[in-house]
């Protein structure tokens, strides 16, 4: 467990899920693991909170779900991006990136205010 953890805002979880699903349909566990690996376990979310988030996405018609068999041949519920989800991801990630870059720029700045 990494010592430096960042708390995640709610909307951010949904954005991360959408991003994860761009690689194809997945069940909840693989989504959790993918986020964990990609961030080097810095953004460690409470895994349980994924599931309400997935349902909220489904309600907004950004993802669809269906039951299927997992890689080790067990019954698992798979989630998949819809067209609307893909568009939402594109728009939201652009906003997010602009925002975080702007914040980062300020934080890294060495110039004194004029």
């Amino acid at each position: 467990m990494a010592p430096n953890r960042v708390e995640l805002r709610q909307g951010a979880i949904e954005l991360l899920i959408l991003k994860t699903l761009t690689w194809g349909a997945q069940h909840g566990y693989t989504i959790a693991r993918w986020i964990q690996h990609t961030t080097g376990d810095v953004l460690r979310i409470e895994e349980g909170s994924l599931y309400p988030a997935l349902r909220r996405l489904e309600e907004k018609r950004l993802v669809q779900s269906a039951w299927g068999n997992s890689e080790n041949n067990r019954r698992a519920k798979f989630y998949k991006l819809t067209e609307a989800g893909r568009a939402e991801l594109k728009a939201e990630s652009a906003v997010w990136l602009r925002y975080s870059e702007a914040v980062a720029k300020v934080l890294r700045s060495h110039r004194q205010p004029a």
Partner: protein, 897 residues
Amino acid sequence: MTDDLPKEPMWQRYRRLVRPRLNEELTDELEFHLQMRIEEYVREGMTPDAAQREAQARFGDLESVERECKALDRRLGARERRTERLGQLRLDLRFALRGMLRRPGFSAIAVLTLALGIGATTLLFGIVNAVLLRPLGYDRADRAIVIWNSFQDPAIPKAALSAQDAADLAAGLRGVETISAFTDWTANLTGAGDPARLQGYQVSPSFFSTLGVAPLAGRFFQELDGRVGSDRVVVLSRDLWRSRFGGEPAVVGRAIQINGEPYTVVGVAPEGFRFPDAPGFLFPEHADLWVPHDWLRDLSLPRGVRMLRVIARLPAGTAVDQARRLLESSAAAMREQYPGEYPPRSGWRPYAVPLRNQVLGETQPALLVLAGAGTLLLLVACANVANLLLARGSARSREMALRGAIGASKVRLAGQLFTENLMLALAGGLVGLGVAVGGSALVRAYGPRSIPRIETVSLDGRVVAFGLGLCIVAAMVSGLGPILQQGRRGARDLLRGDGRGVVGVSGASLRMALVVAEVALSLIVLVGAGLLVKSFVRLQTTEVGFAPTGVLTAQVTLSPAGYPTPEAQAAFFGALLGALSQQPGVRGAGGADPLPLSGDSWSGSFAVAGLAPDDQRPSAEISLATPGLFEALSIRMKAGRTFGPGDDPRSPAVVIVDSLLAARYWPGGNAVGQRLRSVGGADTSGMEIVGVAAHVRKSGARDEERPQIYRPWFQAPRDRMSLALRGDGSAAQLLPGLRQAVHQLDPAQPIARIAPMEELVARATAMDRFALLLLGSFALAATLLAAIGLYGVMSYTVSQRTREMGVRLALGARRGQLVRLVILEGMKPALAGLLAGVAVSMAIGRLMRGLLYQIGAIDPGTYLVAFGFLGGMALLACAIPARRAARVDPVLSLRSD
């Protein structure tokens, strides 16, 4: 990790199957997650216990996640079910539409049939809505009552009150909020465009507050208005204000010239308020303006002069019955106090009627009969469409069975059938609404004016909603049979291939039941129409006692300012009649008050000289007549002479009586030379009967046949005369001459009520014409539909039994026998329907009584004709398929499968 969702094509179906186990799914999903995590930790080397703890820690609060997910799942599930139902409906609709378009002939017949029924019923509801249901403009109408006098003579159920009657009764009506009296008042308007003769009413100051209306501009009357010596003020109707004064608000406060006197306009009544505006008040014309007269304080006129209508408003919560009891006790006190004025033999009794009934009550029975006929037509139309659907249902039974076999539930199939019927009914309803819109325009234009508010008939929101409701009802009624039939049928039998054997039983009996209903309903409408036709013919052929063709009528009322004395009035009318009779083309010119069919009436008691005075006083219709009247109207004289120029105020008083009166008192035919002691209440020294005229039906064919008395107009001249001119050609040709003659005598003198006498005659039967036209067309439509329905059923039955016919022929049956067989089978339900229709018609016949003239509601001739006509149609409808059955080729029919 998979690239896509598993088994994508099966998506929806898969989903539907698991839907009910939402909670279980949630547990499975979360369990799976924890399991995977634990396994991973174990692989990394943890003990299972530690792995489980660690996995749970990473997951967070399992319970709260579960709770949150459950709530979200419920919402999702509900939304999904909604979408699914909508999708189903869309599918049904698309399917129904495709079905309709695939069978355009069937659909067109069904749609048109329903359009006829829905259109007729909606139109009638539109009329009922406009006339009977919409609130009256006067918003306290439900608490307002009308008070009438009644006397022994049942021919005059509603008699006016005198000011003293009204004042005494009002004193006894404790708790009444307001009470007011009014009577008609002729107003000649000058100084604002052409001189015009307007209809005014002299009303108590509380008139408007009794009716609960508020002025559009200015004010209504105040307590002191209308007392002797108070200022002359007037309230205008909105129509008059708009047409004569341009709708200028500045008119309020200005003086206008009425009957040669200045009247200050104090207010304008709201739009549509023309009270009294219904024939129930015995005033033929709606109000143009109102002037105040405090009738209940002005007791100068004797008790016997009865010309007032009295209305009162009850306080909230007071029943009309309570007012009636108070009236009864006041009347008892009055009889005691004035035994000479209210003798027991007069049978005097005041009574109260709710205002709403007074205004609308008289049209209600006729409208309800028509609305009922419209509904019957709709039912016949539904039965017909039901029959069509049944026949088609048989053709589609295999399709339905197949759908059932692959999993559609009965409810689902019924839903689909209902959707199809609803589409048909809605299409029919749309066309029907079009029919109703056109019909209501016709009714507005040509509907009888004797029906109050007929000119406001329109399809408002309520009527359209009613029409749409009818569509749903029609869809259910006409679709019930096929749906029931569908439910009963076994899928296996149908799928086996030969569905025919199964179709027969339930379908056939349903169809026969429908034929019985259709024929019965049609007979009811047909009998109704037949009764109306017969009574209309009688109305038209009834001798009215005079010849209306080519007669022009008009009314002239002189203003008191210009012609203050009877001598001045007599001089004007004498000169006018003289000038008119000199005009080329005029063959007769006469005057009367009132004129037959004018809507005005004057009744009074009379006494025959030489008969005991305590005999109950008979009453008669009285009118004043000039010498030329009998010639102008071609009233036949049975004996004696007509009035002459010598019958003037200086000569002895004379009268002409009608043949009814003469026959009642002098059956020997020696009426001429006898005397009447009094006419119209005023005792005179006696009047000699100089002539006997034929009885004239003064209110048209429906006349009550009351005795009539004419007095010479010039022996009792007055300010008003109705003119009758007979020319060589049409009545309209006489109008320019009339205008010119009046103008030459007095350029400021208006002429009112210009109309050919034939128009007055037509007006008297307008309601009959209207009812006949509507009911007649309904009856024709219903009969036609019933015949089509019967034909459809019979030809379907025959086509289904081709094989049986073939067998019968092969076994030696003769073709004539087959024809008889089919006809007998078809006529059985038709006869049952006819008999049922006769029974129902006889049971409800009394509803028609008010519309009939000189025939009973159970008129055997009419029943016979309707029975025969409809029976003949039924026979024809059976005969055609029967002949087809007989032409069957046995060999071909046996091979046909």
